[in-house]
């Protein structure tokens, strides 16, 4: 690293190896999932694989327990995302330009559900639901999920608000638009992609959530809970492999979508997790 070349020199080979090796480490288990989903073997994980088959994919989609778990997870994630979009946008709109007493406390409160270990959120909700005699159900799961999804939307939307110029809103008002018109024609088009990115990430977060869910689910079985049940008492190894691949795909797609939606706008779409 000679001084005059400090900016343009190439990486030392060992650093390159460490960096790309690290990436390899990060992606290896994901590849394994895609490999084993097509494994012919029925009850073990022996390597090298004995052969490949598409049979388990057909069988998985014929399993009523898997299908109902997928459907439940989709319903919960959709509801949680809708609630999070509404609450997160309101909080972001209220907090981005105003300063008032207690503002820091509110920001902290929004972040708390993902800052505290999930087990605390989970057991807190469980003990409150029990005390209030609310039986665990679809609704208790969705309420829990919505609570920690808010911050993802909030982070994305407030980052966008901070980078849009307030003078656009003032100009709209000067031209005679009222608050609702300004929101509809000026603010909404500006934050639309941030909302979409936040919504997609919130959906992925809820779809994959397991820690809080085990406390609030009761006898309901979401897709991650179905997986966990299989992991603690393995029965259908091949079906589990396929379900693992489906969950992996559903949680991976959003990161590409969110990245391309917020690309070039400098805010880190996924950093709210």
């Amino acid at each position: 690293m000679r001084s005059d070349h400090a900016l343009h020199d190439k990486a030392p080979r060992w650093l390159k190896w460490l960096a790309f090796g690290g990436l390899g480490f990060l992606h290896f288990p994901i590849l394994v999932i895609f490999l084993y989903a097509f494994n012919v073997e029925e009850s073990a994980y022996s390597f090298p694989l004995k052969g490949f088959t598409l049979r388990w994919i057909h069988e998985t989609f014929a399993r009523p327990d898997v299908l109902s778990a997928i459907w439940l997870s989709v319903k919960i994630a959709s509801l949680a995302t809708l609630v999070a979009l509404a609450l997160g946008t309101m909080a972001a709109a209220a907090l981005y330009r105003r300063h008032f007493l207690g503002k820091e406390a509110i920001t902290l409160m929004l972040i708390l559900p993902i800052a505290l270990p999930g087990i605390i959120t989970g057991i807190a909700l469980l003990s409150a639901f029990r005390l209030a005699d609310v039986p665990p159900s679809f609704w208790t799961i969705a309420i829990g999920h919505a609570t920690f999804c808010v911050v993802v939307v909030y982070n994305n939307v407030i980052a966008r608000f901070r980078r849009t110029s307030y003078s656009l809103i003032e100009a709209s008002m000067d031209l005679g638009a009222d608050g609702f018109q300004t929101f509809r024609y000026v603010v909404l088009p500006q934050i639309a992609t941030a909302l979409l990115a936040g919504g997609i990430l919130a959906f992925a977060l809820s779809f994959d959530e397991i820690i809080v869910t085990t406390f609030t689910a009761g006898t309901e079985v979401t897709l991650p809970i179905w997986l966990l049940n299989q992991l603690t008492r393995p029965r259908d190894v091949p079906i589990t492999n396929v379900v693992a691949m489906i969950v992996m795909l559903i949680t991976m797609v959003p990161i590409f979508a969110a990245y391309s939606l917020t690309r070039g706008t400098e805010d880190v779409a996924g950093s709210g997790k």
Partner: protein, 317 residues
């Protein structure tokens, strides 16, 4: 947005209740603020803070060992029980894992983050970003599952050791006290590997953010003044990036501390704080003791955060 205004001009002043409401909100910004904040505050106050307070209150309730009933009689017995030897053991086991996982992820993450900031140009920049985000967002439970597949007897890792002729090394590793165990998937080594893997991206991103803010001119100045690259790294880059490492360790540390799925799936049978809380509330129904146990990670994390704050980690977030 401009084209909207030009294409469809709106009448200057709309009439009706909606417009009246809009004007009222414009004239009274505080009312507007209150209206915006009420729904999120109600939700968080009722659902979240309410639950946390319930949990706190329950930690002082009495649990009857014989009838298995919880009665609202105030007691400090649950907190006293935290200091039982068996419980301290759980706390210590979890803490040592959290510390080793944080250290290991810092060591693995630093070169990746450094390469990302300093050498990745053009397509590599986006590639590295996605390549770190993807495993971070990919399903947690599936990643844990994948490791049970990799570590399984006769699975990939055993095969790799065999193919490289390193079977004796593996046996020696597993024979080590503390670290080892009967097999990879029941050893502390396996659990440590999985934890490090799962939280690694949470360490890479803060370090990357901190390195991003180190001005290139500083490293140039250091080199101009005659420092070797190693000296520049040791005396300029590392101190400036250190808050990022601490910020990352907040995640790796507290996520390990609160996790209870991975200790169930991989590693020896000893309880973690998370598995302890889960067992207490689940099979026994001792919510008061479980509630008291959740105070442990909260206190540890609070202490950790105050140290981290002093080290400047929050500026690196």
């Amino acid at each position: 947005m401009m084209s909207y205004a030009l294409d469809k001009p709106k009448t200057a002043q709309r009439q009706g209740p909606l417009a009246a409401l809009a004007r009222l909100l414009y004239r009274r910004p505080t009312l507007y603020l209150v209206l915006l904040l009420t729904p999120p505050l109600l939700w968080f106050g009722a659902v979240y803070l309410g639950s946390l307070l319930t949990l706190l209150a329950q930690s002082f309730f009495t649990f009857d060992d014989f009838t298995m009933n919880v009665t609202p009689e105030w007691t400090l017995a649950n907190y006293r029980a935290l200091f039982d030897l068996a419980n301290l053991d759980v706390v210590l086991r979890t803490l040592s894992m959290a510390v080793s996982v944080s250290l290991a992820s810092a060591v693995i993450a630093f070169p990746i983050a450094y390469y990302m900031v300093r050498y990745a140009r053009g397509w590599q920049k986006g590639f590295f970003y996605i390549a770190v985000m993807l495993p971070m967002w990919a399903s947690y439970i599936v990643k844990a599952y994948s490791w049970t597949v990799i570590l399984a007897k006769g699975g990939i890792l055993y095969w790799v050791f065999g193919a490289l002729g390193l079977k004796p090394l593996l046996t020696a590793l597993l024979a080590l006290p503390m670290v080892g165990g009967n097999s990879l998937s029941t050893s502390n080594l396996g659990r440590f590997l999985v934890f490090t893997y799962i939280w690694l991206p949470f360490m890479i991103l803060p370090i990357q953010a901190a390195l991003e803010r180190v001005p290139v001119s500083l490293t140039q100045a250091s080199a101009d003044l005659g420092a070797t690259p190693a000296q520049t790294f040791r005396h300029v880059i590392l101190p400036l990036a250190f808050p990022g490492v601490v910020a990352g360790s907040i995640f790796t540390f507290s996520l390990t501390l609160g996790d209870y799925i991975i200790p169930q799936l991989i590693g020896p049978s000893g309880l973690f704080i998370g598995t302890m809380v889960y067992t207490l509330q689940g099979s026994i129904g001792n919510i008061p003791m479980a509630a008291a146990f959740t105070a442990v990670p909260v206190v540890i994390i609070a202490v950790y955060l105050s140290i981290a704050k002093r080290l400047g980690a929050f500026d690196a977030l």
